[in-house]
Subunit: 426 residues, 2 copies
């Protein structure tokens, strides 16, 4: 492949014409394809149809005899806690079960910190003149939206190959007492697909924070969401925090959203028993407890970690080929042209793509014009502002393979067109 | 029956001895009965077993084709909104669907008001020097707990036969700009079983409030929960508020908790479209949306209002006789003795009983000692403090009839014992 940044103007113009023809041909097909969100495809949902048979008019009791139809059970069925404890590699006493959305648990946790503080807070965060969060970026737009909603100032921290830039993280939290938290997707990160190294996890657990009630919001959404046989391994941060003498520093979140049904799964929070006790106090006021029948369904369907691992392999069998197609086209269309670079994740739901500075928005708009919806450019940064306007998040899970191929080919055409225009302008 | 307040001391002592014998005999049976919460009995839950058959591997799509297994659908399925709109007598556009607990919707609404305000707020309520709520009492302990959690000062408003003391309500809200809300259970109220009169509803809608962002938290938990053919009718407050030019004044809440499964039902909020728009803005940040499969289950099972009314008659057939037993024993054991008075509700889940001043706590403790658990005395008042120590909430729904008979007989014995002791002391 030719490095586009050094080919002749004439050659570029010629390439552009050919690309424009391909683009116009795509556009005339009036496609409607969506690669904007990490939404599982219908074939993945079909893997969990067994859930529908797990509870019925004979099976509605938990193992301790609890009638799951009635009130009661604030923090979850013991057997549901056991499953999430295994996923998060903690103990059931360190788990609280939530509703169908872990985002809700995160939002409520920040909300509680604002109105009441967390364990160790001297005053509620909202009574401080300012609250700041570190936001490793690119990251998850919904995390940033929670900060924006609560008027929490977001500080961008660059992502490196093994996690956030820890030199910068350590420096900032040591200096500024108003930095109260950090958002992390530590395994198969959204969107980079990076898993934090042991060194990064240990530095998180051990770092000195000027704020006494600093919290790591550890969104382990893709804890067991491997794509291939080769798998990343994430160090247990709660254990590391305990060993470092900072057991209350971390809130872990996860869910079955991408294990069973995204819209009707089970979420969980994991934390030190001190933290759990404080959260339970709020829950006694906030709710009568989450849906126990849906927990029972999941307990019966998922069984245990061995069975869950088998189940996740079925997801991988569907998802892996989709990632392969994306990577194949990226390499075929863009490889060696020096107009884009991307990651090759071993798990998760995204491929993160960086195009030439100032081109991401134009690429996304151009793809959209031809019927391919992508995550808004900038969405992976706080306030929706990518300083370089270069990051594009590709979510290959939802479209069927045949459609995905078209979508990614079109995206590659758009990237080349916009890049050539930029080079020609310069 | 003899008026115990005027019989001779000797006679009282004799009665006391006989009652003590009956009490001891009950105690020796080592019963464990629970009349503490408005929890449906197992036979009521059996009425909704059909829910288990409503969705399966063929039926998981809403009427508009939405795959209810996947992400999406922030504010509820259109057909679910329609059902709650019918229950609340409003339009689907005025409804948002929640998770399985309407308490959660109320908590979140107060939380939002504290951190962000409501439509018309100049500043978030938490930025005010003080926030106060009116609390018609006796009332629902979980409402009061939400206020206590958010450090909202609670002002007791007495309950009358047709709702809260509106002279007092009007006076207070006209005078004090820090009064931001009031808790109401307007139909078959908890615990009095009273339904607010049309006059009370109109006064709520029309009253002048010094605060510009005053809100009525209208917890219509028992909207269609009749016990008999004779039924109370509640005026539509959202309509009344619109007519009064105060459309944004009310948040309505309801749920299927006591229609289908208490632990696995569907909740809803009803309000003006202005309010709904503001709540949706929060929801886009707070969650990916509630469990649509459970909504679909409910839509298919409940069908429409005609079917729901038939279903509620089945509940009434189970609950009515329980209320009858309670009222029969109260009349038989306490009637004419001038040591207690109680209501005879046409719906809801409670009988509210007032004993002699200073006796409620002792009665509850005495019953508890003999194995009958009642709602804590005082729980029906803000801060758990009944100024007269006289209100006792009876929840007859959970125990089977045979056990309920024993429990209520024992309660009557305890009331007489404690009352006689009080009279003898004076």
């Amino acid at each position: 492949m030719k490095d586009l940044t050094i080919v002749s103007m004439d050659e570029l113009k010629e390439m552009k014409e050919k690309l424009q023809e391909r683009y116009d041909s795509f556009k005339s097909q009036n496609m409607k394809l969506d690669m904007s969100r990490g939404k599982p495809g219908a074939d993945q949902l079909d893997l969990s149809m067994g859930l529908f048979e797990c509870v019925d008019d004979k099976k509605f009791r938990a193992s301790d005899g609890t009638d799951c139809r009635n009130y009661g059970g604030l923090d979850g069925l013991p057997e549901m806690k056991k499953i999430f404890a295994d996923i998060l590699e903690i103990t059931p006493a360190e788990v609280i079960i939530g509703g169908n959305a872990s985002l809700n648990l995160m939002f409520d946790m920040v909300s509680q910190a604002m109105t009441h503080g967390v364990v160790g807070s001297e005053i509620p965060w909202s009574k401080l003149p300012i609250v700041k969060f570190l936001c490793p970026s690119p990251g998850y737009d919904r995390h940033f939206a929670v900060c924006e909603y609560f008027n929490i100032e977001m500080i961008v921290v660059p992502m490196k190959n093994d996690g956030p830039d820890m030199d910068l993280v350590e420096k900032l939290v040591a200096e500024d007492e108003h930095i109260k938290g950090i958002w992390c997707v530590p395994k198969y990160s959204n969107p980079d697909g990076i898993t934090y190294s042991n060194d990064v996890v240990k530095r998180f657990a051990n770092m000195k924070t000027k704020s006494k009630d600093f919290r790591i919001f550890w969104d382990n959404a893709y804890a067991i969401h491997h794509l291939y046989e080769q798998q990343d391994k994430l160090m247990n941060i709660l254990q590391a925090c305990k060993e470092a003498g900072n057991p209350d520093r971390v809130f872990m979140f996860t869910s079955t959203s991408k294990i069973t049904f995204p819209g009707a799964g089970i979420s969980a929070i994991g934390a030190s028993e001190n933290n759990i006790a404080q959260i339970k106090k709020r829950l006694t006021i906030q709710t009568i407890g989450p849906d126990k029948l849906n927990q029972l369904r999941h307990v019966i369907f998922l069984k245990d970690m061995d069975n869950i691992k088998l189940h996740m392999k079925k997801h991988a069998k569907i998802l892996g080929p989709k990632f392969d197609v994306v990577l194949k086209y990226l390499e075929k269309e863009l490889g060696g042209k020096k107009i884009a670079n991307w990651n090759k994740p071993l798990g998760g739901y995204f491929v993160s793509l960086n195009v030439l500075k100032g081109c991401a928005k134009k690429v996304v708009a151009k793809a959209n014009e031809a019927g391919v919806k992508l995550t808004s450019a900038g969405a992976t940064f706080p306030y929706g502002k990518d300083p370089d306007d270069s990051n594009i998040r590709i979510a290959p899970s939802y479209p069927p393979l045949s459609e995905l191929e078209k979508a990614i080919e079109l995206l590659c055409i758009c990237i080349q067109l916009v890049s050539i225009e930029k080079i020609l302008e310069e």
